[in-house]
């Protein structure tokens, strides 16, 4: 067992897969500059020492091209791992991801495959509205894409390796405050969980959630940073005698509904916590699905604790207010206990 940060775990996943399969390569902005950062959050740092500059490919600031090139390379025998510096820039390449990456296999009647990975850092870090968004829900709505959100080093490595081997396009959402990026790329107020990662190879299948904390009164579903906020809230609630189960689905598409339904059979109460804004966030889909398929296990309304429906403000005082906090999560839980 080695202890590592999520950034390191992602790097190791890429390293192992690039060693295993020469079709795998990385492309993105500033990912391989000598004396540079190894991408905005150091994930690709140093990889070119082993794999060379062609397989860790620096690109111009051309998001449409980055995504389109990944699609083209993937259809013709390569396995690209592309990235954007901030998730917010995915909007610049949305056409290539939504109209091409997600649809090519289908439009071709299954005759082409698009085995590509698109990595994107999300989360608010006091940089203002254009560098703060969580875009998961825009992509869960696109048939043809798989969506994963690793919140631990163990998951980061295991899920990314699975993503690289998937023959469908996979979008990986990584949280800026969880990377544990070091040195000049370190983030104020980062959580940077360091986790145990086995020496031996392992893969994590998509669609299998993880119970981060077992409980009997309330089920909380959360991803990425919100897993940790939910755990904080759970600790507080425990002192009040409220037992919380925290489920991290780990992948949003496919989604482990079985685990959630098993849990609410026990708790009969459900809260979904997401850093994304509330209206039409992925939490809405989870709530709607449960309301359609498992309504009768519930004794209380389904609560969603999400970022308020506003662009992310710059001032930390405001940013902290709009993003779900342990306190807001705990309040939602107390409300539900009234039922």
């Amino acid at each position: 067992m080695a202890k590592m940060s999520i950034a390191e775990a992602l790097r190791e996943a890429i390293r192992e897969e690039m060693r295993r399969d020469e079709r795998v390569f990385c492309l993105g902005e500033d990912i391989d500059v000598e004396g540079g950062f190894g991408g905005a959050f150091t994930v690709t740092l140093g990889l070119s020492k082993e794999f060379g500059h062609e397989r860790i490919l620096d690109t111009p600031i051309s998001e449409i091209m980055i995504a389109g090139a990944a699609v083209g390379a993937a259809m013709t025998g390569m396995i690209p791992i592309a990235d954007v510096q901030y998730g917010d820039f995915l909007f610049c390449m949305m056409d290539q991801l939504a109209n091409n990456a997600a649809k090519m296999t289908y439009m071709s009647g299954g005759t082409v495959k698009v085995p590509m990975v698109m990595r994107a850092p999300v989360g608010a870090t006091t940089r203002g509205a254009q560098h703060a968004q969580s875009l998961e829900s825009f992509f869960t709505h696109i048939p043809g894409l798989k969506i994963i959100c690793p919140s631990t080093a163990y998951d980061a490595k295991g899920l990314l390796k699975t993503a690289i081997r998937d023959e469908n396009p996979v979008v990986v959402f990584e949280h800026k405050l969880l990377y544990g990026s070091k040195g000049t790329r370190a983030e104020k107020s980062a959580l940077s969980p360091v986790g145990e990662v086995p020496e031996e190879e392992y893969l994590i299948p998509f669609g299998v959630g993880a119970i981060r904390r077992a409980g009997t009164d309330i089920t909380i579903v959360a991803t990425l940073l919100m897993v940790y906020k939910a755990l904080e809230a759970a600790a507080v609630l425990e002192e009040e005698g409220i037992s919380v189960e925290v489920i991290d689905p780990r992948t949003l598409v496919p989604f482990d509904y079985e685990m959630v339904i098993e849990s609410i059979k026990k708790t009969s109460r459900l809260i979904i916590v997401e850093e994304d804004t509330k209206r039409n966030g992925w939490g809405a889909e989870v709530a709607a699905t449960i309301a359609e398929e498992a309504l009768y296990y519930l004794d209380a309304p389904i609560k969603r604790v999400a970022t308020y429906d506003v662009p992310i403000p710059f001032a930390p005082i405001m940013e902290n207010f709009v993003i779900p906090s342990p306190a807001r999560i705990a309040d939602a839980a107390r409300d539900l206990m009234k039922y």
């Binding site: 091209m65 699609v71 090519m104």
Partner: protein, 318 residues
């Protein structure tokens, strides 16, 4: 792949196939037996055949919303193209793609992309793949005059240039983007002038002269195979048809139409062949009859092919 006169005759045969395939589709479409819409390529046969004739099966093609000519010239089977138009399960996209997305990866024809210029960044990735896999394969990337105003064009051209990728950018300038004349949306005379913004060698080519197109293509393909990077060819041509289904081209000047119809690529090539005794009138007619028969049997094949099943809609997607 043929040489000399045989090649010229073979190119004529292909061009005649493209023209009459499209005319047949148009006829069938008006009959109402075909769903969706059509964007046809009558008049642009010389650019499709001239650009693609010398490619290997392992080379690639990226195409547009107007893909029929490109696909047939790259070797997608006539039957599977026709069947796709009829939305049959034997179509090159199993009835899932349709007229704007035809292709067949087994002959290097990627499924066509109908987002204007959307195929250009994809072609960069194909070029990257050819290079990284250490092949000397190339990709011909077709797009239109209108597409040259899309951001995707810019990002793709620049990337292909800096990585000297084996991409041949083939701009079919048929003077119109849908109903909009190119002179209303760019301030330059030739789109080829845009090559210099990326350090990409560019040429203006008579897109209705298949021999000229093929010469330029040969140079560009050769450069690409040698690893010398992309070339930008502006092929001046013209649509004989509407932009899409029932478009009477009310936005086009009749004199302009006449001028260009007089430069019809098939008529010119046929005249060239006869003037230079490359082939006799009789032989031409024999070839044309053979092609027409192939088209008819492709229609029969398509019509006789089984319909898709509703539930098929749920396959081929995660």
């Amino acid at each position: 792949m043929k040489e000399g006169n045989e090649k010229i005759i073979d190119m004529y045969k292909q061009m005649f196939l493209l023209r009459n395939y499209e005319d047949k589709i148009y006829f069938l479409f008006l009959e109402g037996v075909m769903p969706g819409t059509i964007h046809q390529s009558q008049g642009q046969e010389a650019s499709a055949v001239g650009m693609l004739y010398d490619l290997r099966k392992e080379d690639y093609l990226t195409s547009t919303h107007r893909p029929a000519g490109h696909c047939l010239a790259k070797g997608v089977s006539l039957e599977s193209m026709m069947a796709e138009m009829f939305a049959k399960s034997t179509g090159c996209c199993k009835g899932k793609g349709g007229a704007m997305h035809t292709g067949d990866i087994t002959v290097g024809a990627l499924p066509a992309i109908a987002i204007t210029a959307g195929g250009m960044p994809v072609a960069v990735g194909v070029g990257l793949s050819c290079k990284m896999r250490k092949t000397d394969n190339v990709v011909v990337c077709f797009f239109g005059d209108g597409a040259s105003n899309e951001g995707a064009f810019h990002e793709a051209m620049n990337a292909a240039a800096i990585w000297s990728l084996p991409v041949i950018f083939a701009c079919e300038n048929n003077l119109y983007g849908a109903s909009t004349h190119i002179n209303r949306v760019v301030k330059i005379n030739d789109l080829a002038e845009r090559g210099s913004a990326y350090g990409i060698p560019a040429e203006v080519v008579d897109g209705n002269d298949v021999l000229k197109v093929n010469e330029a293509a040969t140079r560009a393909i050769d450069r690409a195979r040698k690893g010398l990077g992309p070339t930008f060819l502006e092929l001046k041509t013209y649509r004989r048809c509407g932009h899409s289904r029932n478009d009477a081209c009310g936005y086009r000047d009749k004199a302009e139409e006449k001028e260009w119809f007089d430069k019809d690529p098939l008529t010119r090539l046929k005249k060239h062949m006869l003037d230079h005794n490359i082939i006799t009138q009789e032989k031409i007619e024999a070839i044309e009859q053979e092609v027409m028969a192939r088209i008819e049997s492709a229609v029969d094949y398509a019509k006789a092919s089984p319909d898709v099943k509703p539930e098929d809609a749920l396959t081929n997607v995660y």
